[in-house]
Amino acid sequence: MNPRWLAGKVAAALVTLVFVVVFNFFLFRVMGDPTTQLARLPRATPEEIQKLKSYYGLDKPITGQFLDYAGDTATLDLGISQRTRRSVWDEIKDAIPWTLLLVGTGTLLATLIGAWLGVIAATRRGKAADDGLLGFSLFTYASPEYWIGIILILLFAVWLPIFPSGQQMTPGEDFSSWFAQAADVAEHLVLPATAMTLMLLGQYFLIMRSSMVDVLTEDFITVKRAIGLPWDRVVRRHAVPNALLPLVTLSAIQFGIVAGGAVTIETIFSWPGLGELTYDAINDKDFPVLQGTFLVFSVAVILANLIADCLYFVLDPRVQAT
């Protein structure tokens, strides 16, 4: 890999990150002052509220608050949650594995199934199978994920009660072994991961299908067929690898975005990941936690883009040539 090219990409990523850090600060200040809610607490005396404000640094001018924030962020100190008084990093650390599990499973399944269905549709272009798959994927692509989530809960947790309706494992259960716990988590993962997969499936399918359709009409495919290679071998060995490129980059970029986009699915399924943490922090006006989770989301998107660029570089010889 060309080191100058890589250095350029990394530098661009860092600039984006700095911009996001600055933007985050002002974004959440627009939401207002977390101590305003205390004004409705008849028990809280004005003196105590004043003390709390100075504790949060809210009595300082906005530039002073910003300098504090920038300094802390630069030293990777995300602060203390205003509500739970735990370190923000601890809160995020607890939530990240659950989000990764859900988003990872969803992205993986959506990529695999989307690609598979895309190939099926492309090779049967214009036939009933193609129309059906196209209709299905456009439908799931267009449906809001919370609606899909609620329908899944209704079907498989309420009417046909085979899956739990929420949580990441049976709460309060003492598991006899790691294995039992993993099985319990797997059971709880089914519905949210299905919702996630359905939410993402459509675009992977559409990309794969159009990319396959392009490749299948190229000359080299005709040549391969003319040589007498079996059709499914032409598809598997020659068409699919060439059509895969846009899908790989999309799934890398998407992974970063959906880490934040899982908010609705996590909330509906009470999945204790970053999404639910963010949702609760918004309700509580917990600035430090919000700044922390948004930082994580931003880093995820920026990193995913960087990785996608690198992947492209490795996968596509044409990029290397430039």
Binding site: A44, P46, I49, D94, A157, F179, E187
Partner: protein, 600 residues
């Protein structure tokens, strides 16, 4: 791939499934004997540390974990022994001597002594948000011996008995920690040392709070071994979990789906008055107190406010805005306060004709668009309401709609909490300068002692909690007098007079008394009783005491182990799909050996 390989893979997968599904079944046998009460909530306990807490949800854990110096009776909320067994008020009413229960122990075995009481009153009473203000009158706390506490106050203060809502926490745990740490990020060590029937043994924020029986609890042993508070993503998710039997009770259900929830199998809902209300507030700030306030002067005309009160059907506001889950309001003292409540004489029953008559008599005449005016002043008011409360927005629309009938125009303005806080707490040159005519919002008070709500409209609170900026020396005098009156009958009479004044002057028109909305599974929880206060209170005695939860008994039905059917179904599906895929490939690869096959 050979057929034999495929068969071998299938056998391996089947074995894996067997292993996976067999284990949880074994685990359930061990855990099944424990009697667990599971409560679901969308708003989590935020922190266990009482020094930094700001939220009412935290009381769910604290009220089971700790006692007050003087607890509230589940019957009528009147003072009953807590950490103190008995108390005595001196003749000048300025000294109260508490005798503590002898032999009582903390959950870790340490004795509960007067040192703990002094520490709690001193430190929690001054260095916390939620427990401060109660000890403002206290001048000294003395501990002549291990079981005696003597509290002296500046003036007589009836809150000393039944109104000191400060939990008694162990000095030997918190006293060691510097106050700066307590007010920063201190997390109480678990199990959280306490004196109640259950103590917190596990707290995973955002997931679960587990409380187990306190081995040293001095009262009767409760029937449930364990209480779990389980956090869900939304109230919808909590209600769903209750219908499905994943949890046993909900401390906080929501108004829109409350009726429907009660129709579910084995689910019973319970609605009870709580110590909170929703009010229409009028800006009554005087020229002297708020020289720069902005408002329509007509809002300070008492006749206008009284006419508005007659024009608004509070029953209708309740039926529509909260779907009938609240209670129509009757003045500043909610009917929850059974010991003190009396329906006010001036109750403003719905009577638009009378309202019209009053305004006619006062010379407010209707002009072209139907809005009344007098001497160039129009009866046209801003009505601010919080965007986050759909119930309040609905109530505001109803108020506007009904007031239009009597020629009073309310302009409903939906704003953020911050905006509303800003206009109600605006200051100019160090003096309050509220910038509104009217708004709708709510307040919540303490169990038993009504002072917290009654003082909202005292002159002292201008610049503090007062949001109507009402000032009446007579009301203030009565407030001080009732605050120092230990005799129940006399205090009740003083409170009656205060309510009568506030009903005449109407700084607040209380629209609804807000409820506790609870729901529980009848097959999982028995010995349920409406109490705190009997027979109208809520079945969990929320934020009041532990008696209601401690008396609950497990029901017959509902096994709590989650079934493994789902995961079996999925694995079976995956196995079938993999088998089908491999089989097709196997067929194809055989077919593929024929080099000249043509496909179209």
């Amino acid at each position: 791939m050979r057929l034999r390989t495929i068969v071998a893979m299938l056998v391996a997968m089947a074995a894996l499934i067997a292993a996976v599904t067999a284990l949880p079944a074994g685990a359930q046998d061990d855990g099944g004997k424990k009697k667990v009460l599971r409560l679901g909530q969308a708003q989590d306990v935020q922190t266990l540390n009482p020094f930094v807490a700001q939220d009412e949800e935290n009381f769910r854990a604290w009220s089971l974990n700790w006692d007050l110096l003087v607890n509230f009776s589940p019957d009528d909320l009147s003072p009953v022994p807590g950490i103190a067994e008995s108390w005595e008020v001196s003749p000048d009413k300025k000294t109260v001597t508490f005798k503590l229960i002898e032999g009582a122990k903390w959950s870790d075995g340490e004795p509960i002594t007067s040192k703990d009481v002094k520490y709690s009153l001193d430190k929690l009473g001054t260095d916390s948000l939620i427990f401060s203000g109660y000890t403002s009158n206290v001048t000294s706390i003395e501990t002549p011996d291990e079981h005696t506490v003597v509290v002296k106050t500046k003036q007589p203060d009836a809150r000393m008995i039944g109104g000191l809502f400060i939990y008694m926490i162990p000095e030997h745990v918190y006293g060691k920690v510097p106050i700066a740490k307590l007010k920063k990020d201190f997390q109480p060590p678990l199990p959280m040392v306490g004196s109640g029937p259950y103590v917190v043994t596990e707290f995973e924020h955002g997931r679960i709070l587990r409380m187990e029986r306190n081995p040293n609890f001095r009262g009767e042993k409760p029937a449930f071994d364990e209480i779990q508070f389980i956090k869900y993503g939304s109230v919808d998710a909590v209600e769903r979990a209750l219908r499905l039997g994943e949890i046993d009770a909900i401390p906080e259900a929501q108004a829109p789906s409350f009726e429907k929830l009660g129709q579910a199998d084995n689910v019973k809902t319970d609605r009870a008055p709580s110590p909170s209300f929703t009010q229409l507030t009028f800006n009554l700030c005087s020229e002297e107190n708020c020289p720069d306030a902005k408002f329509n002067p007509a809002v300070q005309d008492r006749t206008v406010r009284q006419a508005i009160a007659y024009a608004i059907d509070r029953e209708r506001v309740n039926t529509i805005s909260t779907r009938g889950t609240s209670f129509p309001g009757h003045g500043i003292l909610p009917q929850y306060y059974k010991s003190w409540y009396e329906q006010p004489a001036d109750d403003y029953p719905y009577d638009p004709d009378k309202a019209n008559q009053m305004l006619d008599d006062a010379g407010w005449t209707r002009d072209g668009d139907g809005t009344r005016s007098k001497d160039g002043v129009e009866l046209s008011f801003d009505l601010f309401v919080r965007s986050e409360s759909p119930e309040n927005i609905q109530a505001a629309k109803l108020v506007a709609e009904q007031a239009r009938e009597i020629g009073v125009d309310f302009k409903v303005q939906v704003v953020s909490v911050d905006k509303l806080t800003e206009i109600t707490t605006r200051e100019v040159d160090g003096k309050m300068a509220p910038d509104f005519d009217t708004f709708i919002w709510g307040w919540g008070g303490d169990p038993y002692d009504p002072s917290a709500l009654l003082q909202l409209i005292t002159t002292d609170q201008i610049g503090g909690s007062s949001d109507a900026f009402y000032s009446n020396p007579e009301y203030d005098r009565l407030f001080d007098e009732q605050a120092g009156e230990f005799d129940h009958a006399k205090r009740k009479e003083l409170i009656r007079q205060m309510v009568a004044i506030s009903q005449r002057d109407l700084p607040y028109l209380v629209l609804t008394d807000d409820p506790w909305l609870e729901a529980y599974r009848t097959d999982r929880m028995t010995n349920v009783a409406k109490q705190c206060p009997k027979p109208t209170g809520d079945v969990l005695c929320q934020q009041v005491n532990y008696d209601a939860i401690a008396q609950l008994e497990p029901g017959e039905g509902g096994d709590d182990g989650g079934s493994s059917t789902g995961i079996i179904a999925v694995i079976a599906l995956v196995v079938i799909a993999v088998a089908a895929f491999l089989f097709v490939r196997w067929r194809r690869s055989r077919g593929g050996r024929e080099p000249l096959e043509l496909e179209t």
